[in-house]
């Protein structure tokens, strides 16, 4: 695919710009045990982490590609063409003025410093493999909240990292979690002390700039008893004609009575493979909420999961996927009810357009010991034309007959009558389509911080432009 066709395929992708690459350290393409050891050594990591990495590397090499999902696309990934580590800045700065100019410009264009001033409690900005900027509001720091990039987290709090790293998502969970564990770099490390409520969301922004780059951030969030936090994640990349690989692992631990909300709007350019493992463990009466939006990427495979381990724990997974030309959004949710009286809600909404494909893949498990569980799963798909595709793969494993489970699924099309109605109110066909699409995603959008909601609506309206014939 030439650069022009790549641009055509993704339409008017606003974040498709790239800056000159000024790497201070760039590893050769391809993966080997030596590359894994070099990353660890370069970062000055403790030996136990190097061992985890090397072991994970071997697991990755042994494990076959998944035999489900979009195998055609998966098998196109050329692991030897990927750059596994790229350092673009000497350190992580606390002040935007100290971030190298070209990188700062990128984040300016993405509106991150502005958002930070207005509505965020803390920001990590990751460029390629590592965080280039990091800050947290003083009042949060005084309350003992730890919010660091993952590399600093390991340096400054190795005992916490050692205890929880891979405790929710083991390296061998799947091929891509093994890869991430082997070559991880960057990501966020958060610890919220007992009873502390972080009122303003904290945000991490992930930007890939270089060609054929692999970004493997690793995020670990621990909310101690009775605490709460809302973490927001955004991601973009330039539009190159060759593919990049984003393969993250996110682990959440919500102790008794704690609440973690993790909101993502991934808007990778349409040449990025986005293969992510996100999972949380909720202890007694804890709540984990995944608010997960998938707009960009070439292929996304992501099924945010919650293990309801303690009695009375609650999971909420609200996700939307938009699949345009050449895109496959294979997304969904997994909830495991391991304890009595646990509850979950899953709402998944997807839109397919211009031959795009969206799949819902879900798993709901209730173990024999889990009495009195309740779960509701709702999947709605909206097709904007006849070339597009939507499919659903729900799995239920119910081992306890007291469970109260509901499952609803619908596939709908935009009707001519709806379009005619809106057009008779002065809206062009594209505007009408934009309104219907935004309306369809509204149950998701209203869960986002206002700034993200506005941006998402605008993005979807842009997607509708020039697309109707």
């Amino acid at each position: 695919m030439s650069g022009d066709t790549a641009r055509e395929a993704v339409g008017d992708y606003r974040y498709g710009f790239h800056d000159p690459e000024n790497a201070t350290i760039r590893f050769d393409k391809g993966l080997s045990e030596q590359v894994v050891k070099d990353i660890s050594e370069l970062k000055g990591e403790p030996e136990w982490m190097t061992e985890i990495r090397v072991k994970a590397y071997h697991r990755f090499m042994e494990m076959p590609m998944p035999s489900w999902g979009n195998c055609d696309m998966l098998n196109q990934i050329d692991f030897d063409a990927v750059t596994y580590f790229l350092r673009s800045s000497e350190g992580t700065e606390k002040n935007w003025d100290d971030v190298p100019d070209d990188i700062k410009n990128t984040f300016d264009r993405l509106g991150i410093p502005e958002a930070e001033q207005k509505w965020l409690g803390g920001v990590t900005a990751q460029y390629e493999s590592e965080a280039v900027y990091h800050s947290i509001r003083e009042d949060l720091e005084e309350q003992g909240v730890l919010f660091l990039d993952m590399d600093s987290g390991l340096k400054e709090h190795p005992e916490i990292v050692k205890k929880y790293f891979c405790s929710v998502v083991p390296a061998s969970d799947n091929k891509f979690s093994a890869l991430n564990t082997a070559v991880w770099s960057g990501g966020s490390f958060i610890y919220v002390p007992k009873g502390v409520h972080v009122e303003m969301p904290v945000q991490a922004y992930f930007r890939i700039n270089a060609k054929n780059m692999g970004q493997f951030e690793r995020t670990l969030i621990i909310a101690d008893e009775g605490s709460s936090i809302h973490y927001v994640e955004g991601c973009t990349a330039p539009t190159y004609s060759t593919e990049s690989l984003h393969s993250a692992v996110v682990e959440l631990i919500a102790m008794d009575g704690a609440k973690i909300r993790y909101s993502t709007v991934q808007n990778w350019s349409a040449n990025v493979y986005n293969l992510v493992t996100k999972r949380g463990i909720a202890h007694s009466n804890a709540t984990i909420e995944w608010v997960d939006g998938n707009i960009g990427s070439k292929l996304t495979m992501k099924y945010p999961a919650v293990i309801l381990k303690g009695e009375g724990a609650h999971a909420e997974v609200i996700s939307v996927a938009y699949a345009g030309k050449g895109q496959h959004q294979d997304a969904g949710a997994k909830v495991h009810h391991l304890a009595p009286n646990t509850t979950s809600n899953i709402l998944s909404k997807s839109i397919s357009k211009n031959g795009g494909r969206s799949s819902y893949r879900g798993m709901l498990q209730v173990t024999p010991k889990a009495n009195g569980c309740r779960s509701k799963v709702v999947c709605d798909a909206l097709m904007l034309d006849a070339d597009s595709q939507s499919d659903t793969y729900p799995t239920m494993e119910v081992g306890n007959s007291s469970a109260d489970l509901e499952h609803e699924a619908s596939v709908s099309k935009v009707s001519n009558d709806q379009l005619f109605y809106l057009m008779s109110r002065g809206h062009s066909e594209e505007e009408a389509m934009g309104m219907i699409v935004n309306g369809f995603f509204e149950p998701f959008t209203r869960e986002l911080p206002m700034e993200y909601a506005v941006e998402l609506n605008r993005l979807l309206e842009l997607e509708m432009e020039g697309a109707i014939g």
Binding site: S415, N416, D417, Q418, F420, Y421, L422, M423, S424, R425, G426, H427, S428, E429, E431, A432, M435, I436, N438, G439, F440, F441, E442, P443
Partner: protein, 242 residues
């Protein structure tokens, strides 16, 4: 302002309107009455531009421009409004947002400022006896028949059309709602042309038409003054059939 000349319209190769002519001037109220299936609703929808209908011959002009040259949204922006018999629901889109966007699309440069818009909206909603909780509901989603019709009339008042087509706006309304809706219609007619499609006399007790047309099998078979509506009410349509 609106001229329809020898109009023929088909849906899926079945002819529904079979040679119909009509002229509506500014300030005139025309009522079209007829049985179900006579083609009344088709006429309203075809004037607004519903894609399911095909004009096989004849011309419709609005303010001198043939409508075939105008997209549906352009007709709306030029001052045409259709109050739907069965308005579509748009889940997830709040009434308040929808109204604001529609007003700015239709009225363009003349659209009111945010503050004036709120003022207009409040006044019209009070007149239509609509609670402000309407604004945060989704457009027509889970609305009762009467609520849908009120929302249609609210849109008409806000969009301030020069030609209002009202398709069975009176059906499914109780007496109070009918009165409120009729007041809405009366408030725009001094400055707009209006085409009321109905098969009941009762709306015409509140809105006095200048002309009443009787439509049977795709044609206007008789035109008279407001007295014709009362005559139809007592005698039915049989006496007009050929």
């Amino acid at each position: 302002m609106l001229s329809v000349d020898n109009l023929h319209v088909s849906v899926d190769d079945t002819e529904i309107i079979k040679g119909l002519s009509l002229r509506i001037n500014l300030g005139e109220v025309h009522a079209i009455m007829g049985r179900n299936g006579s083609g009344k609703s088709t006429l309203a929808n075809v004037i607004m531009g519903h894609p399911a209908y095909e004009i096989t011959s004849g011309v419709i002009k609005f303010k001198g421009t043939p409508l075939e040259e105008m997209e549906v949204f352009e007709r709306a922006r030029a001052g045409m409004f259709l109050s739907f018999q069965y308005p579509s629901s748009i889940p997830g889109v709040q009434v308040g947002t929808f109204l604001r966007k529609s007003v700015s699309a239709v009225r363009g440069e003349d659209a009111p400022s945010a503050r004036e818009f709120r003022k207009e909206l409040k006044a019209h909603m009070e007149a239509l006896e609509m609670d402000k909780s309407f604004l945060s509901r989704y457009v027509n989603d889970g609305f009762s028949g009467g609520e849908k019709k009120r929302l249609e009339i609210l849109q008409m008042l806000l969009l301030n059309p020069t030609l209002a087509l009202l398709d069975e706006t009176d059906s499914g309304l109780d007496i109070d709602a009918l009165r409120v809706v009729a007041e809405g219609i009366n408030s725009i007619t001094p400055t707009a042309g209006c085409l009321l499609i109905t098969h009941y006399q009762r709306l015409l007790d509140h809105v006095e038409p200048d002309y009443v047309h009787v439509m049977i099998d795709g044609k206007i078979v008789k035109t008279g003054g407001s007295g014709l509506a009362a005559e139809l009410e007592s005698k039915g349509y049989d006496w007009l059939e050929v």
